[in-house]
Every structure is written in structure tokens, then in C-alpha cells.
Amino acid sequence: MARELWEGNQAIAEAAIRVGLEAYFGYPITPQNEILEWMSKRLPELGRAFVQAEAELGAINMVYGAACTGARVMTSSSSPGISLMMEGLSYIAGTEVPMVLVNVMRGGPGLGNIAPSQADYNQICKGGGHGDYHPIVLAPASIQEAVDLMPVAFDLAEKYLNICCLLIDGSIGQMMEPVELPEMRPVVRKDYPWAVNGAKGRPRRILTSIYLDPPEEEKTNLRLLKRWQEAQEKEIRYKEYFIEDAEFIVIGFGTAGRVALSAVRAARAQGIKVGLFRPITVAPFPYKRVAELAQQVSAFLVTEMNAGQMLEDVRLAVNGSVPIEFYGRLGGVVPFPDEILSEIQRVAKAKLSADADPVANWMKRMEMVAR
């Protein structure tokens, strides 16, 4: 198909529709209103289900119900709205039904602002809802990548009976890029052996997240964990740039990762042997690959649009073998490539220790910038 110029939010919505989305439930919130608005136009004309829910709380529980029928279903929101979905997400994980969630992150905490941010990484990757569960989280850095990951997200959700989250920010949601969208596929409602769709000619089915007897709940938790381990082995995705001869490596996801690419190119132009590692699955995180890279390089520079959330995963992967530095911007500020470039230059020269606290050091530098 031909490339067309698409706005990120609309491209994501259209991509979901073309790969068989049957129902969307959502509530307006900037910077992702274009997803809901696109759905409100397209789904009814295609005879599929669209409901603007009374709130995110309603939306996620409508998604919960729809997912129980085996339909391809998704919702989308931005930071505060995602926080309201935490109970529902925990229920969905505990009931082992598939769904796709899109979080177009904005500056926080609280009402914050509508600028691009990455500060909901821990919320979705570590535990926003109660209990032990792990959504699969994909962090595209461009509109094309987001579009290409849409069918992947549904497939992963359905394969692992889990939540799959597309974690992006307002800049990806509202920018425009040339994109090739997937062909329109026919909708096929799979007759999953677990789906509730009427006990006709089969024993009745129950979908629930209650296991009053703790040993039963423990079994359920272990079942979830096993699937998670399988996903960790099979579903890791990442993109590497200038890695072969890299003496140290920048790690960033999503927008921070693509901004870092500009900086890395500029550094290369200056003869600095630096590479870029951009995780695409941030959960499961590419621990193994980062551990391997730790054998090759002398240091890592982690850059995020938050206060060092993915940083902890990098530290767990590196496990003390080489120094790690951090550079973050907060509250909706998007770093310019030259900021990261100067960090790269600093790291290239600096003597670093593997025991130093990367966040504490970064904070000191931030204060010197004294904004």
C-alpha cells in the first residue's frame, strides 16, 4: 500500500480497525482524543461497536465484558484516565482475557499538563493495579512502528490471555509521518474455548477473578507467571543502532529513544564510538540482551522522559558489571538532541563508578542547570 501522511492517534485507531477491532470503549482525554473521535466515526459505519463511556472506569469494565465474549477489543486514554483503570486491569489480568490498551502519556503527576511524557512506565510495567500480574508493554518510537505493532499487540494479548499495552506519548500521538497502513482484514470472532457466548451445545462457562481458596489463587498466580516467563523468552523486541563497535551505549525507549538517535548520530559524526539500544518491548524487558551488551561496553547512558523508571530495569540487567549514567527530563519536557549529545560527550570523557547512584548524580547536574 502507498504511504500516506497520518497523525499518530488516527493512524493507530485506523490500524486497529483494519486488523479486526470489533469494539472500542473510551472516554475523551487530551492528547488522545483523536483516537476516540476516529473510532466514533469509523466503527458505526462499519457496523462495529463504539461507546463513549461515562468515564474510564466504565470504559475499562465495558472492555472487560467485551473481552469475555472473545471479541477483539481495545480502549485508549492518557495518564490520569489510565490510573482510573487500575482496578479493572487487575480484574482483566486475573480473569485471563485479552485486551489492548493504548496509553498516550502526558505530564504528571495529578492533572499535570498535556505535554509528552514517559512517567507512566512503572505504573504499567511494575504494578498499577493490585496483585501479581504483568501486562505486555510495547513502546513504539514512530507512527509506522506503532501501526506495525497494532496487530502484534492483539496477537500477543490473545496468545498470552493478557493485557497488551501500547505505551506512547503525546508527541507520537499528535505528530504526522508518512505511514503504510495494513490492508483491511475481515472481522473474525474466534470461538475461544473460554469465551462466554451462550451455553448452546456445550457446558456453561464462567469467567471470574475470584479464588476464595488461597491455594487455588496461588495456582492461578503461577499460571500467569508461567505465561509471563514464556513471553519473556519469546517476545522480546528491540532495535539497535551503531552497536557493533560501540564503546558505550545509550538506552532509551519511545520518543526519548528517537531523540537519542539524533544525538548518537551527531556524536558519531564527532568520532565518539557510541551506540543506541531502543527497547520495543519494555515489558518483558530485554534483560538478557542488555546483560550481553554489558559484556561489550564500558558504560550505559539511560535517557528517559521521567525520573529514571526504566533505569531500574537496566540496572537489574547490568547487575553492577559496568557503570550506568542517567539523563531525564520531567513533567512534559521533551529533551532536544543536543542535550543528550552533551551527555554523551560527558560520559565519553568521565571516569565512572558502577556503584554510583545515577539518579543522585543526574539530580546534581539538573540543579546546576538550575531552571
Binding site: L5, Q174, M176, L261, A263, V264
Partner: protein, 185 residues
């Protein structure tokens, strides 16, 4: 090779559309391109600007601090972006809305009375296209023909009747600019 443009003005001056026209053209000539808007903290009115990055390889940052080209449609935009243009870069000023000239001489400066020219054509709304034409006069990546073709290909049907005026505006802007460019010293 990568070229970065920032287009800036009041909301309502058609700045966003101007940036999109350039993006379509870049896409159609087979380049990588990103268009990203940014609105002032004021949710409505206020200044609006967008950044367009045109490149041959995968584009990293869609935002830039120091653009190669800046198109400023009003005074606040001139004040904000003139200092940021890369040395040797280009600054396009909408004379109609700005009562001062450029202060830098290390960049190419093109000063165009976009509004007046647009009014000559018969539609003040075309000022943004005049500016695009002026901008093209100094842009290696895209020709007027490329942009014409892009407009032809992508202008939504309901606006097609405006096509001739748009194209005329671009040409007028281009020619005026060619005649009124002060090259970087």
C-alpha cells in the same frame, strides 16, 4: 542529509497547513519527513508553530532547537526564532505582520509582504501559501513543482476549487523571494 524547518505565527494564519503541505511534498518525492505541532500554553489563540524535518534516512528527533529554516509570520515568532536559526540557515519573514527587519547577517533573510501579495491574489487567507513559495526559493529539498504536485494529490476534494489560488500564491511568493533575498554574509 536532514533539513529542519520551523514555521511559526498566530493561530489561524494557516501555519499548520503550510507545514503539512511541505510534508506531503517531501513524502511524495520519497523522503522521510516528520511534522509536529506545538501550541502555546494558551489552549486557544496565542502563537502556534510546527516543526518539519525532511531527511533521507530514519528521522530521529522530530523537534529541533536550531532549525535550518525558520518561517515567521508575526513579531513574537521573529523574536523567538531569529536567534535560533543555524548559522548559514534561512529566515523567511512575513513583512506584513512585522515592523522590524532581521538583525542577523550570518543567515539568508527573505522578507515578503505575504498578506499584501495574498490580497492581490484576492484572498488574505493565501498568505501562508505565499510564505511557502518564498520558503521554497531557498530550499534545496523541494521544488515549487513538487509542492504543486503534492497539493494536487492530497488536497481534499471539498477544497480542490482553491487549488489554483494556492498555486498562484506559491508562485508569487517564490518569485518575490527570488528578487528580495539577502544572502548570508
Amino acid at each position: 542529509m536532514q533539513t529542519e524547518l520551523i514555521l511559526s505565527g498566530f493561530g489561524g494564519q494557516g501555519i499548520m497547513f503550510a507545514g503539512q503541505v511541505l510534508s506531503y511534498a517531501a513524502m511524495d518525492v520519497g523522503k522521510q519527513v516528520t511534522w509536529i505541532p506545538s501550541y502555546g500554553p494558551e489552549m486557544r489563540g496565542g502563537t502556534a508553530n510546527c516543526t518539519v524535518v525532511i531527511a533521507d534516512e530514519e528521522i530521529g528527533s522530530p523537534v529541533v532547537k536550531n532549525p535550518d529554516v525558520a518561517l515567521v509570520m508575526n513579531l513574537p515568532s521573529l523574536d523567538k526564532y531569529e536567534p535560533l536559526v543555524k548559522p548559514g540557515g534561512m529566515l523567511v519573514i512575513n513583512e506584513s505582520m512585522v515592523d522590524r527587519g532581521a538583525r542577523r547577517d550570518d543567515i539568508t533573510v527573505v522578507t515578503v509582504p505575504c498578506s499584501e501579495i495574498a490580497e492581490e491574489i484576492g484572498s488574505i487567507k493565501m498568505a501562508n501559501m505565499v510564505a511557502v513559495g518564498a520558503l521554497l526559493s531557498g530550499l534545496k529539498e523541494l521544488t515549487v513543482a513538487d509542492v504543486e504536485a503534492a497539493l494536487n494529490a492530497h488536497m481534499p476534494g471539498r477544497h480542490k476549487h482553491l487549488l489554483p489560488k494556492n498555486i498562484e500564491a506559491i508562485h508569487k511568493g517564490y518569485e518575490y523571494a527570488k528578487a528580495h533575498t539577502v544572502a548570508a554574509r
